[in-house]
Amino acid sequence: MTPPGAALVTRIAALSVALVLVQIGVVSEVPLFGVNIDLSPLLVAFVGLLCGSTLGAVTGFAVGLLVDLALVQTLGVTSLIFTLIGYWGGRLRELRDPQAALTPLLVGAAASVVSLVGYSLIEFLLGVDAPVSLDLLRQIVLGVVVNTIAAVPMWALVRRVLESALPDDPRRRRRRRAYTTGGLSPLSRS
Protein backbone atom coordinates (compact mmCIF):
# COMPACT_ATOMS: atom_id res chain seq x y z
CA MET A 1 0.00 0.00 0.00
CA THR A 2 1.91 3.04 -1.23
CA PRO A 3 0.86 6.37 0.26
CA PRO A 4 -1.24 8.48 -2.15
CA GLY A 5 0.42 11.48 -3.76
CA ALA A 6 -0.23 14.95 -2.42
CA ALA A 7 -1.59 16.03 -5.80
CA LEU A 8 -4.18 13.27 -5.75
CA VAL A 9 -5.31 14.05 -2.20
CA THR A 10 -5.55 17.75 -3.02
CA ARG A 11 -7.63 17.04 -6.09
CA ILE A 12 -9.96 14.74 -4.18
CA ALA A 13 -10.39 17.33 -1.41
CA ALA A 14 -11.06 20.17 -3.86
CA LEU A 15 -13.49 18.07 -5.88
CA SER A 16 -15.32 16.94 -2.74
CA VAL A 17 -15.77 20.47 -1.35
CA ALA A 18 -16.85 21.86 -4.73
CA LEU A 19 -19.33 19.05 -5.33
CA VAL A 20 -20.87 19.28 -1.85
CA LEU A 21 -21.36 23.05 -2.37
CA VAL A 22 -22.93 22.49 -5.80
CA GLN A 23 -25.06 19.68 -4.38
CA ILE A 24 -26.61 21.65 -1.51
CA GLY A 25 -26.75 24.97 -3.38
CA VAL A 26 -28.01 23.92 -6.81
CA VAL A 27 -28.70 20.24 -7.40
CA SER A 28 -30.88 19.82 -4.29
CA GLU A 29 -33.08 22.69 -5.41
CA VAL A 30 -33.97 21.12 -8.74
CA PRO A 31 -36.16 18.05 -8.29
CA LEU A 32 -36.25 15.47 -11.08
CA PHE A 33 -39.34 13.20 -11.15
CA GLY A 34 -40.14 14.53 -7.67
CA VAL A 35 -36.81 13.52 -6.11
CA ASN A 36 -33.37 15.09 -5.81
CA ILE A 37 -30.19 13.83 -7.37
CA ASP A 38 -27.60 13.10 -4.68
CA LEU A 39 -24.12 13.41 -6.14
CA SER A 40 -22.20 12.70 -2.93
CA PRO A 41 -22.53 8.86 -2.83
CA LEU A 42 -21.60 8.79 -6.54
CA LEU A 43 -18.50 10.87 -5.87
CA VAL A 44 -17.40 8.61 -3.02
CA ALA A 45 -18.02 5.38 -4.95
CA PHE A 46 -16.13 6.67 -8.00
CA VAL A 47 -13.18 7.88 -5.91
CA GLY A 48 -13.02 4.35 -4.47
CA LEU A 49 -13.29 2.83 -7.92
CA LEU A 50 -10.42 4.95 -9.22
CA CYS A 51 -8.15 5.23 -6.20
CA GLY A 52 -8.72 2.06 -4.15
CA SER A 53 -10.40 1.10 -0.89
CA THR A 54 -8.24 3.11 1.51
CA LEU A 55 -8.73 6.45 -0.23
CA GLY A 56 -12.35 5.53 -0.95
CA ALA A 57 -13.12 4.91 2.71
CA VAL A 58 -11.30 8.04 3.91
CA THR A 59 -13.01 10.17 1.25
CA GLY A 60 -16.36 8.65 2.23
CA PHE A 61 -15.84 9.51 5.89
CA ALA A 62 -14.69 13.07 5.10
CA VAL A 63 -17.46 13.81 2.59
CA GLY A 64 -20.06 12.35 4.97
CA LEU A 65 -18.80 14.52 7.81
CA LEU A 66 -18.82 17.59 5.55
CA VAL A 67 -22.40 16.92 4.45
CA ASP A 68 -23.60 16.35 8.03
CA LEU A 69 -21.86 19.50 9.25
CA ALA A 70 -23.01 21.71 6.38
CA LEU A 71 -26.63 20.56 6.52
CA VAL A 72 -26.76 20.31 10.33
CA GLN A 73 -27.85 16.67 10.22
CA THR A 74 -27.17 13.93 12.79
CA LEU A 75 -23.36 13.66 12.82
CA GLY A 76 -21.96 10.27 11.88
CA VAL A 77 -24.87 8.89 9.84
CA THR A 78 -23.63 10.00 6.43
CA SER A 79 -20.00 9.30 7.38
CA LEU A 80 -20.84 5.70 8.28
CA ILE A 81 -22.73 5.02 5.05
CA PHE A 82 -20.25 6.82 2.78
CA THR A 83 -17.25 5.08 4.41
CA LEU A 84 -18.76 1.72 3.47
CA ILE A 85 -19.60 2.92 -0.06
CA GLY A 86 -16.07 4.25 -0.65
CA TYR A 87 -14.45 1.10 0.73
CA TRP A 88 -16.70 -1.15 -1.33
CA GLY A 89 -15.95 0.88 -4.51
CA GLY A 90 -12.25 0.48 -3.84
CA ARG A 91 -12.48 -3.25 -3.16
CA LEU A 92 -14.36 -3.70 -6.41
CA ARG A 93 -11.43 -2.16 -8.24
CA GLU A 94 -8.82 -4.12 -6.29
CA LEU A 95 -10.53 -7.48 -6.76
CA ARG A 96 -12.15 -7.22 -10.21
CA ASP A 97 -10.99 -3.97 -11.80
CA PRO A 98 -14.11 -3.86 -14.01
CA GLN A 99 -13.61 -2.17 -17.38
CA ALA A 100 -17.06 -2.58 -18.95
CA ALA A 101 -18.80 0.53 -20.23
CA LEU A 102 -21.73 -0.12 -17.90
CA THR A 103 -19.53 -0.19 -14.79
CA PRO A 104 -20.18 3.45 -13.75
CA LEU A 105 -23.93 2.96 -14.14
CA LEU A 106 -23.96 -0.20 -12.03
CA VAL A 107 -21.62 1.22 -9.40
CA GLY A 108 -23.67 4.44 -9.26
CA ALA A 109 -26.90 2.49 -8.86
CA ALA A 110 -25.43 0.25 -6.15
CA ALA A 111 -23.97 3.25 -4.27
CA SER A 112 -27.37 4.98 -4.39
CA VAL A 113 -29.17 1.87 -3.12
CA VAL A 114 -26.73 1.53 -0.22
CA SER A 115 -27.03 5.25 0.56
CA LEU A 116 -30.84 5.48 0.45
CA VAL A 117 -31.57 2.15 2.14
CA GLY A 118 -28.80 2.74 4.70
CA TYR A 119 -30.23 6.14 5.64
CA SER A 120 -33.69 4.69 6.02
CA LEU A 121 -32.47 1.82 8.21
CA ILE A 122 -30.49 4.12 10.48
CA GLU A 123 -33.39 6.58 10.78
CA PHE A 124 -35.72 3.72 11.69
CA LEU A 125 -33.22 2.54 14.30
CA LEU A 126 -32.94 6.05 15.75
CA GLY A 127 -36.74 6.34 15.89
CA VAL A 128 -39.12 8.22 13.62
CA ASP A 129 -41.72 10.52 15.20
CA ALA A 130 -43.84 10.94 12.09
CA PRO A 131 -45.93 8.36 10.22
CA VAL A 132 -44.04 6.68 7.39
CA SER A 133 -45.69 6.46 3.98
CA LEU A 134 -45.33 3.50 1.64
CA ASP A 135 -44.34 6.12 -0.92
CA LEU A 136 -40.93 6.01 0.76
CA LEU A 137 -40.22 2.92 -1.34
CA ARG A 138 -41.20 4.79 -4.49
CA GLN A 139 -38.95 7.69 -3.46
CA ILE A 140 -36.05 5.29 -2.92
CA VAL A 141 -36.57 3.62 -6.31
CA LEU A 142 -36.89 6.99 -8.08
CA GLY A 143 -33.83 8.25 -6.21
CA VAL A 144 -31.81 5.29 -7.44
CA VAL A 145 -33.04 5.86 -11.02
CA VAL A 146 -32.13 9.56 -11.15
CA ASN A 147 -28.79 8.93 -9.45
CA THR A 148 -28.02 6.20 -11.98
CA ILE A 149 -28.75 8.66 -14.79
CA ALA A 150 -26.41 11.17 -13.14
CA ALA A 151 -23.72 8.51 -12.67
CA VAL A 152 -22.45 8.72 -16.27
CA PRO A 153 -21.54 12.44 -16.33
CA MET A 154 -20.38 12.19 -12.71
CA TRP A 155 -18.00 9.33 -13.60
CA ALA A 156 -16.63 11.32 -16.52
CA LEU A 157 -16.04 14.33 -14.26
CA VAL A 158 -14.38 12.40 -11.43
CA ARG A 159 -12.17 10.46 -13.86
CA ARG A 160 -11.16 13.60 -15.72
CA VAL A 161 -10.17 15.41 -12.52
CA LEU A 162 -8.34 12.51 -10.86
CA GLU A 163 -6.91 10.34 -13.62
CA SER A 164 -3.79 12.34 -14.37
CA ALA A 165 -2.85 12.36 -10.66
CA LEU A 166 -3.36 8.62 -10.15
CA PRO A 167 -0.26 6.49 -9.50
CA ASP A 168 0.65 4.22 -12.40
CA ASP A 169 -1.12 0.89 -12.03
CA PRO A 170 0.79 -2.09 -13.55
CA ARG A 171 -2.43 -3.93 -14.43
CA ARG A 172 -3.87 -0.98 -16.33
CA ARG A 173 -0.50 -0.26 -17.94
CA ARG A 174 -0.35 -3.83 -19.25
CA ARG A 175 -3.92 -3.63 -20.51
CA ARG A 176 -3.30 -0.26 -22.18
CA ARG A 177 -0.11 -1.49 -23.81
CA ALA A 178 -1.80 -4.62 -25.07
CA TYR A 179 -4.45 -2.65 -26.86
CA THR A 180 -2.29 0.17 -28.13
CA THR A 181 0.74 -1.78 -29.37
CA GLY A 182 -1.33 -4.39 -31.08
CA GLY A 183 0.20 -7.33 -29.22
CA LEU A 184 -2.96 -8.82 -27.83
CA SER A 185 -5.62 -6.76 -29.55
CA PRO A 186 -8.32 -8.92 -31.13
CA LEU A 187 -8.30 -6.54 -34.10
CA SER A 188 -4.67 -7.35 -34.90
CA ARG A 189 -5.44 -11.03 -35.47
CA SER A 190 -7.73 -10.42 -38.40
Binding site: S79, T83, A130
Partner: protein, 317 residues
Protein backbone atom coordinates in the same frame (compact mmCIF):
# COMPACT_ATOMS: atom_id res chain seq x y z
CA UNK B 1 4.04 -7.38 2.89
CA UNK B 2 0.66 -8.23 1.40
CA UNK B 3 -0.70 -9.35 4.78
CA UNK B 4 0.46 -6.13 6.36
CA UNK B 5 -1.29 -4.12 3.68
CA UNK B 6 -4.52 -6.07 4.15
CA UNK B 7 -4.35 -5.67 7.93
CA UNK B 8 -3.73 -1.95 7.64
CA UNK B 9 -6.60 -1.52 5.18
CA UNK B 10 -9.03 -3.42 7.40
CA UNK B 11 -7.87 -1.56 10.51
CA UNK B 12 -8.55 1.74 8.77
CA UNK B 13 -12.05 0.64 7.79
CA UNK B 14 -12.82 -0.50 11.33
CA UNK B 15 -11.41 2.76 12.73
CA UNK B 16 -13.58 4.92 10.45
CA UNK B 17 -16.73 2.88 11.13
CA UNK B 18 -16.15 3.00 14.90
CA UNK B 19 -15.48 6.75 14.68
CA UNK B 20 -18.74 7.25 12.77
CA UNK B 21 -20.68 5.19 15.33
CA UNK B 22 -19.12 7.13 18.20
CA UNK B 23 -20.04 10.44 16.56
CA UNK B 24 -23.57 9.20 15.91
CA UNK B 25 -24.07 7.97 19.47
CA UNK B 26 -22.59 11.06 21.08
CA UNK B 27 -24.55 13.45 18.85
CA UNK B 28 -27.81 11.61 19.27
CA UNK B 29 -27.45 11.42 23.04
CA UNK B 30 -26.39 14.98 23.79
CA UNK B 31 -28.56 18.05 24.38
CA UNK B 32 -28.87 20.71 21.62
CA UNK B 33 -26.45 22.85 23.63
CA UNK B 34 -23.83 20.05 23.69
CA UNK B 35 -20.32 20.14 22.24
CA UNK B 36 -20.99 18.46 18.91
CA UNK B 37 -24.00 20.68 18.27
CA UNK B 38 -21.81 23.69 19.09
CA UNK B 39 -19.17 22.48 16.63
CA UNK B 40 -21.90 22.14 14.01
CA UNK B 41 -23.16 25.67 14.70
CA UNK B 42 -19.58 26.98 14.52
CA UNK B 43 -19.12 25.24 11.18
CA UNK B 44 -22.40 26.75 9.96
CA UNK B 45 -21.18 30.21 10.98
CA UNK B 46 -17.93 29.73 9.06
CA UNK B 47 -19.39 28.24 5.88
CA UNK B 48 -22.58 30.38 5.70
CA UNK B 49 -20.89 33.26 3.83
CA UNK B 50 -19.15 30.79 1.48
CA UNK B 51 -22.38 28.91 0.78
CA UNK B 52 -24.25 32.17 0.37
CA UNK B 53 -21.68 33.39 -2.18
CA UNK B 54 -21.69 30.08 -4.03
CA UNK B 55 -25.49 30.11 -4.04
CA UNK B 56 -25.59 33.58 -5.59
CA UNK B 57 -22.98 32.65 -8.19
CA UNK B 58 -24.83 29.45 -9.13
CA UNK B 59 -28.32 30.99 -9.10
CA UNK B 60 -28.52 31.37 -12.91
CA UNK B 61 -27.78 27.64 -13.33
CA UNK B 62 -30.43 26.74 -10.75
CA UNK B 63 -32.95 29.09 -12.37
CA UNK B 64 -32.27 27.55 -15.77
CA UNK B 65 -32.95 24.00 -14.58
CA UNK B 66 -35.83 25.16 -12.41
CA UNK B 67 -37.35 26.97 -15.40
CA UNK B 68 -37.17 23.84 -17.55
CA UNK B 69 -38.77 21.78 -14.80
CA UNK B 70 -41.52 24.39 -14.24
CA UNK B 71 -42.37 24.50 -17.96
CA UNK B 72 -43.43 20.85 -17.88
CA UNK B 73 -46.00 21.56 -15.19
CA UNK B 74 -47.08 25.03 -16.33
CA UNK B 75 -50.13 24.07 -18.40
CA UNK B 76 -51.78 21.82 -15.81
CA UNK B 77 -51.03 24.36 -13.07
CA UNK B 78 -52.58 27.19 -15.13
CA UNK B 79 -55.82 25.28 -15.62
CA UNK B 80 -55.97 24.34 -11.95
CA UNK B 81 -55.30 27.94 -10.90
CA UNK B 82 -58.01 29.28 -13.19
CA UNK B 83 -60.54 27.03 -11.48
CA UNK B 84 -59.28 28.15 -8.08
CA UNK B 85 -59.51 31.84 -9.01
CA UNK B 86 -63.15 31.44 -10.07
CA UNK B 87 -63.97 29.61 -6.83
CA UNK B 88 -62.13 32.13 -4.65
CA UNK B 89 -63.80 35.06 -6.39
CA UNK B 90 -67.19 33.68 -5.45
CA UNK B 91 -66.04 33.10 -1.88
CA UNK B 92 -64.56 36.61 -1.65
CA UNK B 93 -67.85 38.24 -2.57
CA UNK B 94 -69.67 36.19 0.07
CA UNK B 95 -67.00 36.84 2.72
CA UNK B 96 -66.86 40.62 2.29
CA UNK B 97 -70.28 41.14 3.84
CA UNK B 98 -69.50 38.81 6.73
CA UNK B 99 -66.16 40.50 7.35
CA UNK B 100 -67.81 43.91 7.70
CA UNK B 101 -70.26 42.52 10.27
CA UNK B 102 -67.44 40.75 12.10
CA UNK B 103 -65.40 43.94 12.43
CA UNK B 104 -68.38 45.81 13.79
CA UNK B 105 -68.98 43.10 16.39
CA UNK B 106 -65.30 43.03 17.42
CA UNK B 107 -65.44 46.79 17.98
CA UNK B 108 -68.65 46.53 19.98
CA UNK B 109 -67.24 43.87 22.30
CA UNK B 110 -63.69 45.38 22.46
CA UNK B 111 -62.06 42.26 21.05
CA UNK B 112 -60.18 43.97 18.21
CA UNK B 113 -56.69 43.49 19.72
CA UNK B 114 -55.64 40.51 17.60
CA UNK B 115 -52.00 40.24 16.66
CA UNK B 116 -50.95 40.58 13.05
CA UNK B 117 -47.81 39.28 11.34
CA UNK B 118 -46.20 42.72 11.73
CA UNK B 119 -46.23 42.21 15.52
CA UNK B 120 -43.77 39.36 15.06
CA UNK B 121 -41.00 41.49 13.54
CA UNK B 122 -40.65 39.35 10.41
CA UNK B 123 -37.05 39.00 9.18
CA UNK B 124 -36.68 38.34 5.46
CA UNK B 125 -34.02 35.77 4.61
CA UNK B 126 -32.64 34.05 1.51
CA UNK B 127 -32.43 30.28 1.26
CA UNK B 128 -28.97 29.17 0.18
CA UNK B 129 -28.81 25.44 0.88
CA UNK B 130 -31.19 22.51 0.86
CA UNK B 131 -30.81 18.94 2.04
CA UNK B 132 -31.11 16.36 -0.76
CA UNK B 133 -32.02 13.61 1.71
CA UNK B 134 -35.52 12.07 1.92
CA UNK B 135 -35.20 11.99 5.70
CA UNK B 136 -34.16 15.59 6.25
CA UNK B 137 -36.47 18.29 4.87
CA UNK B 138 -34.29 21.21 5.86
CA UNK B 139 -33.08 24.42 4.26
CA UNK B 140 -30.42 26.86 5.41
CA UNK B 141 -30.97 30.65 5.40
CA UNK B 142 -28.60 33.59 5.51
CA UNK B 143 -29.99 35.20 8.69
CA UNK B 144 -29.20 34.09 12.22
CA UNK B 145 -28.87 35.30 15.79
CA UNK B 146 -27.44 38.62 14.63
CA UNK B 147 -30.77 39.38 12.93
CA UNK B 148 -32.82 38.27 15.95
CA UNK B 149 -33.58 34.74 14.76
CA UNK B 150 -34.10 32.17 17.53
CA UNK B 151 -34.70 28.43 17.69
CA UNK B 152 -38.40 27.56 17.24
CA UNK B 153 -39.27 30.81 15.41
CA UNK B 154 -42.00 30.13 12.83
CA UNK B 155 -41.05 30.57 9.18
CA UNK B 156 -43.47 31.59 6.41
CA UNK B 157 -43.39 32.68 2.81
CA UNK B 158 -45.93 34.48 0.64
CA UNK B 159 -47.98 31.31 0.30
CA UNK B 160 -48.20 30.02 3.87
CA UNK B 161 -46.38 28.22 6.66
CA UNK B 162 -42.99 26.83 5.68
CA UNK B 163 -41.52 25.44 8.92
CA UNK B 164 -39.60 26.47 12.02
CA UNK B 165 -36.03 27.33 12.97
CA UNK B 166 -34.23 24.33 14.50
CA UNK B 167 -30.57 25.42 14.55
CA UNK B 168 -29.19 28.91 14.66
CA UNK B 169 -25.71 30.38 14.21
CA UNK B 170 -24.72 34.04 14.18
CA UNK B 171 -25.24 34.55 10.43
CA UNK B 172 -27.25 31.53 9.41
CA UNK B 173 -30.00 29.24 10.55
CA UNK B 174 -31.46 25.87 9.64
CA UNK B 175 -35.19 25.58 9.04
CA UNK B 176 -36.95 22.25 9.38
CA UNK B 177 -39.76 22.34 6.85
CA UNK B 178 -43.28 21.19 7.73
CA UNK B 179 -42.48 18.04 5.72
CA UNK B 180 -39.58 17.14 8.05
CA UNK B 181 -40.20 14.12 10.26
CA UNK B 182 -39.37 16.09 13.43
CA UNK B 183 -41.97 18.83 12.88
CA UNK B 184 -45.56 18.78 14.16
CA UNK B 185 -47.90 21.77 13.97
CA UNK B 186 -51.09 22.36 15.96
CA UNK B 187 -53.70 23.14 13.35
CA UNK B 188 -57.41 23.46 12.75
CA UNK B 189 -59.70 23.30 9.78
CA UNK B 190 -60.61 26.64 8.26
CA UNK B 191 -64.34 26.29 8.94
CA UNK B 192 -64.43 24.54 12.31
CA UNK B 193 -62.80 24.96 15.69
CA UNK B 194 -61.67 21.31 15.83
CA UNK B 195 -57.90 21.13 16.29
CA UNK B 196 -55.38 18.41 15.52
CA UNK B 197 -51.70 17.96 14.80
CA UNK B 198 -50.29 18.26 11.28
CA UNK B 199 -47.43 15.83 10.75
CA UNK B 200 -45.52 14.89 7.61
CA UNK B 201 -45.71 11.48 5.99
CA UNK B 202 -42.11 10.38 5.64
CA UNK B 203 -41.47 9.38 2.05
CA UNK B 204 -44.19 11.57 0.57
CA UNK B 205 -43.04 15.19 0.47
CA UNK B 206 -46.31 16.38 -1.08
CA UNK B 207 -48.55 15.05 1.64
CA UNK B 208 -49.18 15.96 5.28
CA UNK B 209 -51.48 14.29 7.77
CA UNK B 210 -53.82 16.26 10.07
CA UNK B 211 -54.39 13.80 12.90
CA UNK B 212 -56.42 13.53 16.11
CA UNK B 213 -59.49 15.41 14.88
CA UNK B 214 -62.67 14.49 16.77
CA UNK B 215 -64.44 11.63 15.00
CA UNK B 216 -67.58 13.70 14.35
CA UNK B 217 -65.72 16.56 12.59
CA UNK B 218 -67.22 17.46 9.25
CA UNK B 219 -64.44 17.83 6.69
CA UNK B 220 -64.73 18.54 2.98
CA UNK B 221 -62.17 18.00 0.23
CA UNK B 222 -60.48 21.28 -0.67
CA UNK B 223 -61.00 22.77 2.78
CA UNK B 224 -58.12 24.89 4.10
CA UNK B 225 -56.03 23.92 7.12
CA UNK B 226 -54.55 26.74 9.21
CA UNK B 227 -52.42 27.00 12.36
CA UNK B 228 -54.46 26.95 15.53
CA UNK B 229 -52.13 29.20 17.58
CA UNK B 230 -51.71 26.59 20.30
CA UNK B 231 -48.93 24.21 21.29
CA UNK B 232 -49.07 20.57 22.30
CA UNK B 233 -45.99 20.78 24.53
CA UNK B 234 -43.76 23.59 25.83
CA UNK B 235 -40.96 22.44 23.50
CA UNK B 236 -43.06 23.06 20.40
CA UNK B 237 -42.96 26.15 18.28
CA UNK B 238 -45.82 28.61 18.70
CA UNK B 239 -47.16 29.46 15.30
CA UNK B 240 -49.42 32.51 15.06
CA UNK B 241 -53.05 31.49 14.57
CA UNK B 242 -54.54 31.50 11.08
CA UNK B 243 -51.39 30.79 9.03
CA UNK B 244 -52.30 28.79 5.94
CA UNK B 245 -50.77 25.29 5.95
CA UNK B 246 -52.52 23.38 3.18
CA UNK B 247 -55.67 22.04 1.61
CA UNK B 248 -57.50 18.81 2.44
CA UNK B 249 -57.08 16.19 -0.29
CA UNK B 250 -58.80 13.19 1.31
CA UNK B 251 -60.41 12.09 4.56
CA UNK B 252 -59.45 8.90 6.41
CA UNK B 253 -62.19 7.31 8.47
CA UNK B 254 -60.85 5.97 11.75
CA UNK B 255 -62.63 4.84 14.89
CA UNK B 256 -61.60 7.15 17.73
CA UNK B 257 -60.16 10.04 15.74
CA UNK B 258 -60.43 11.30 12.23
CA UNK B 259 -57.40 12.17 10.12
CA UNK B 260 -57.17 13.98 6.82
CA UNK B 261 -54.50 14.19 4.15
CA UNK B 262 -53.32 17.73 3.48
CA UNK B 263 -51.41 19.08 0.50
CA UNK B 264 -49.03 21.88 1.60
CA UNK B 265 -49.89 25.26 0.08
CA UNK B 266 -46.34 26.63 0.12
CA UNK B 267 -44.14 25.31 -2.67
CA UNK B 268 -41.46 23.74 -0.50
CA UNK B 269 -39.43 22.47 -3.46
CA UNK B 270 -38.63 25.95 -4.65
CA UNK B 271 -37.93 28.25 -1.72
CA UNK B 272 -35.89 31.35 -2.44
CA UNK B 273 -37.03 33.91 0.10
CA UNK B 274 -38.73 33.27 3.44
CA UNK B 275 -39.75 35.31 6.48
CA UNK B 276 -38.80 34.34 10.02
CA UNK B 277 -41.32 35.55 12.60
CA UNK B 278 -39.01 36.77 15.35
CA UNK B 279 -40.99 38.12 18.26
CA UNK B 280 -38.68 40.77 19.76
CA UNK B 281 -37.94 40.48 23.47
CA UNK B 282 -40.57 42.30 25.53
CA UNK B 283 -43.14 42.41 22.73
CA UNK B 284 -46.63 41.01 23.19
CA UNK B 285 -46.01 37.88 21.06
CA UNK B 286 -42.80 37.12 22.96
CA UNK B 287 -44.52 37.53 26.33
CA UNK B 288 -47.38 35.27 25.31
CA UNK B 289 -44.87 32.76 24.00
CA UNK B 290 -42.98 32.78 27.30
CA UNK B 291 -46.21 32.15 29.21
CA UNK B 292 -47.07 29.23 26.92
CA UNK B 293 -43.57 27.74 27.24
CA UNK B 294 -43.82 27.81 31.04
CA UNK B 295 -47.14 25.92 31.07
CA UNK B 296 -46.98 22.21 31.77
CA UNK B 297 -47.86 20.12 28.72
CA UNK B 298 -51.54 19.36 28.34
CA UNK B 299 -52.70 22.20 30.59
CA UNK B 300 -55.03 24.88 29.35
CA UNK B 301 -54.64 28.22 31.13
CA UNK B 302 -58.38 28.77 30.83
CA UNK B 303 -59.00 25.79 33.08
CA UNK B 304 -60.14 23.41 30.38
CA UNK B 305 -58.51 20.06 29.71
CA UNK B 306 -58.23 20.13 25.96
CA UNK B 307 -54.86 18.39 25.86
CA UNK B 308 -53.14 21.48 24.48
CA UNK B 309 -51.65 24.45 26.23
CA UNK B 310 -53.28 27.57 24.90
CA UNK B 311 -51.06 30.29 23.62
CA UNK B 312 -51.54 32.65 20.83
CA UNK B 313 -48.23 33.76 19.44
CA UNK B 314 -44.56 33.10 18.65
CA UNK B 315 -42.45 31.66 21.42
CA UNK B 316 -38.82 31.51 22.39
CA UNK B 317 -37.42 28.73 24.51
Amino acid sequence: MHDKTVRRRRALLVLLVVLSLLLLTAYFGEAPSGRLHSVQRGFLTVVSPIQDGANKALKPVRDLFGGISDTFHAKSQRNELRKQVAKLRRELVADQGEKRSYRELLGVFHLDNQLSIANYHPVTATVFAKSPNIWYSTVTIDKGEAAGVHINDPVINGEGLVGKVTQVASDGAVISLITDSTVGVSARLGTTSATGIVQPKVGDPNDLLLQYLPANTQVGKGEYVVTSGTVASPDNSLYPPGLLIGQVTSVNEESAYKSVNVHPIANLHNLDVVQVLTAASGSLPANLGRIAASLPAGQNPNGGATGEALASTGAHP
